[in-house]
Symmetry: C2
Subunit: 153 residues, 2 copies
DNA sequence: ACTATCTTGAGATAGCTTATCAATTTCAAC
DNA sequence: GTTGAAATTGATAAGCTATCTCAAGATAGT
């Protein structure tokens, strides 16, 4: 049952975000293509990916899908509010923020494990700091680096 | 008087951090060179720089100072705990964390202005989140992106 | 179906950072 | 102060990620 429900939830999530994408495309006189649909459905099944990763993942489904198209499309998702880019090391990670809203990261410097979290109180304090400085926040990035329980032995 | 005191404080800061660097070098069998001294003193006078920026700044003092040396040295400072690298857009910013401890950033997406801030309450909540997930924080990064008062018109 | 417009794919290109290596400099031991 | 092993530098090549170019192809409104 859990699996069945999860399947349904993933499917409805895809339908919902496909609609978000469609609206964004319509508003900007852009077009819905086979590639954009393909990349969106694959993207929504994961928490965070790099363009390179998706390139290899999707090579099976469409061997001719170009890397440039993936970059272009992931950047498009950012503009549509479906994804969020995050510079991590030398690469750019694209985070899936569509279904769970914005989330922050707790990253283990030992094994690279990434734990996601949300904290309303922190978000509220961020707004406070921004207001105090005359800013209106559009987005933010919070990453905590440390050692997880396992890597501390 | 203010200027005189600021001058003294910058000087003592440089002496102090030079000592931190010396200790790090000794511990790792590295050597103190003219270039490392030069780059450190220039680095400590600023909040955050890119390697390219320092390259141009220091060209006046030493026209033969190579860009690679600046990258190598700034990375060395990171290992010594004097600097902290931050990937911003396509470039890497090196932040001066030696004299004021860790600080976070409020960045205007309109004009690029960077305002620094510290907020103990946020830091405390970060510790809380980490502990809850079995992590021990080593460092963190918090960046708030938005529009400053001026760019909102 | 037609057509203007957008998109794609493949490779070239750009931009930032690191690797290479011979020549030079540092520093501890003499 | 010399000496010599080891680290560092400078100049440039190479590596990587991301974007640009443009002819060929796909999309969507009419």
């Amino acid at each position: 049952m859990g699996v069945f429900q999860a399947g349904l939830s993933v499917m409805s999530k895809i339908l919902k975000e496909m609609d978000v994408l469609r609206q964004h495309l319509a508003k900007h006189q852009l077009k819905l293509t086979r590639q954009r649909e393909l990349i969106l459905t694959a993207f929504l099944r994961q928490e965070h990916v790099t363009a390179e990763t998706m390139y290899h993942q999707l090579a099976k489904k469409d061997p001719h899908l170009g890397l440039a198209t993936i970059y272009r499309t992931l950047n498009l998702f950012c503009e549509a509010g479906i994804a969020q880019a995050r510079h991590f090391g030398t690469q750019t990670q694209y985070d899936n923020i569509s279904h769970k809203g914005h989330h922050d990261h707790l990253i283990c410097t030992g094994c690279g494990t990434i734990v996601e979290f949300e904290n309303c109180e922190i978000e509220r304090l961020q707004e406070e700091v921004a207001t105090k400085n005359g800013f209106v926040i559009q987005t933010h990035r919070l990453e905590l680096y440390g050692l997880c329980a396992h890597c501390r032995h």
